[in-house]
Amino acid sequence: MESTAAGLRKNGDQPPVVQYDGVVKRFGSLTVLNGVSARVNKGEVVCLIGPSGSGKSTLLRCTNALEIADGGRVVFEGQPLPKTEGELRHVRQRMGMVFQNFELFPHMTALENVAVGPITILGANPAEARAKAQMLLEKVGLGAKGGNHPSALSGGQQQRVAIARALAMDPDVMLFDEPTSALDPETIGEVLNVMKRLAEEGMTMVVVTHEMSFARRVANWILVFDEGRVIEEGPPAQIFDAPTHARTQSFLSHLGWNG
């Protein structure tokens, strides 16, 4: 299946941006990831779906080594993730991450949140970093909010600032960890629209989500998780319209998904 699938996939003939080889992760006696293998090609939007606790977010955190895999390996742009914290920092700088709870820095304005990475980590010229941050805020539709602190922004606005903050580091891949799960229904759309535009620009994206209609419309590839394994993968049309695995069918029907 893997060889035929690779041929179908966007940029499947090129080396993947991220590759997971039998990734295992345990917390104490609990095995959260039980040998996950998958790939993320350049410019692809790969959505990770499945029940809560099935390991999706853990795999995302293993991608930029916020969690260290106990077995198997994560390969980023042809190189297995390094071992030392110092080297890992350089890898993380090339991966953007967006969190469920935004995690903006509350003591900084929106603009400072976006500029802090380039200034602090990359040693960018502060004036240039701020100009770029302003441009990124405009890109996510918040050009007028740069002077606001996070406490003065809605959830949807905070999450868009968080996306801009990640983009400021010019990442090669963006990791989204349930980016709309903490949002009011009326602000979910504004965040998904920003993500959709990012996908159209060709950004490589790995998205853990419960937004099935987003996954259906925007993803190029779906990984279905259950109990720490990928039980099924394929293009959205196949996963949503003709899931082969019984667990996928029951998961989708529980969400009220009916194609």
Binding site: N64, L66, E85, G86, R89, H90, R92, Q93, M95, G96, M97, F99, N101, E103, L104, F105, P106, H107, V116, G117, T120, I121, H149, S151, A152, A162, R165, A166, M169, L175
Partner: protein, 221 residues
């Protein structure tokens, strides 16, 4: 009962000198204890294991020993042990700093530990180093969060300077005792002293509280 406030009027310069010493000792203690306390707190939370044990022991002992005992030990016993005699003001500053800095470090530690782990995760995901995370993300938020407790500690510190009178630091308390004894006017003199302490402390605690209300949102993640 007749009140005679003339001893205060007659000796206002003498009392004002005491007030000035109280303010000087308070400010010096606050600055020194804050700097030492920050170093202690950072050392306890982020320092290597071999450093944490003695720092924790130091903080725990300062919380367990009355500040008055630390003060008289510093003034009377320390010179016998080391051969170094400290003038009363400096002995008081040293003892108060030893004591108050332990509390500053505890407040800072609580502030740092109260910041949710997602903030560190976000900073790490950007690619920040441990030192950058503490400096840019955690410490500024902890400072905001510790303000209410720090404000209380400021008033405790200013009040605690009064015990320096025990080792003859000529502060407001000591000068008041002198005037009260010379004129046998304890009610008038000590009431005035109370009022003076209150007039210093009340605005300080109010100002810290008002400032905190303005900046509280900066520490809320």
């Amino acid at each position: 009962m007749d009140f005679d406030f003339s001893p205060i009027v007659d000796n206002w310069g003498f009392l004002a000198q005491g007030l000035l010493i109280t303010i000087e000792l308070s400010v010096a203690t606050i600055v020194a204890a804050t700097l030492v306390g920050i170093a202690l707190g950072l050392g306890r939370v982020y320092g290597p294991g071999w450093l944490r044990v003695p720092l924790t022991f130091y903080v725990d002992s300062m919380r367990a020993i009355p500040v008055l005992v630390v003060l008289v030990w510093t003034f009377f016993a320390f010179p016998l042990v080391t051969g170094i005699t400290l003038p009363p003001f400096w002995a008081a500053l040293a003892a108060l700093t030893l004591h108050i800095s332990a509390f500053v470090s505890e407040i800072l530690r609580a502030g740092l530990n109260s910041i949710r782990p997602g903030q560190v995760r976000a900073a790490r995901a950007l690619g920040m180093s441990g030192a950058q995370i503490v400096r840019k993300i955690l410490f500024p938020q902890a400072v905001v969060r510790m303000l209410p407790a720090y404000g209380s500690l400021l008033s405790v510190t200013i009040k605690d300077t009064a015990i320096a009178s025990v080792i003859a630091v000529p502060d407001l308390m000591r000068q008041s005792e002198t005037i009260a004894a010379q004129n046998y006017a304890p009610i008038e003199v000590f009431t005035t002293a109370m009022l003076a302490y209150f007039l210093i402390l009340f605005p300080v605690t109010r100002a810290v509280e008002a400032f905190y209300r303005r900046v509280a949102h900066l520490g809320r993640s």
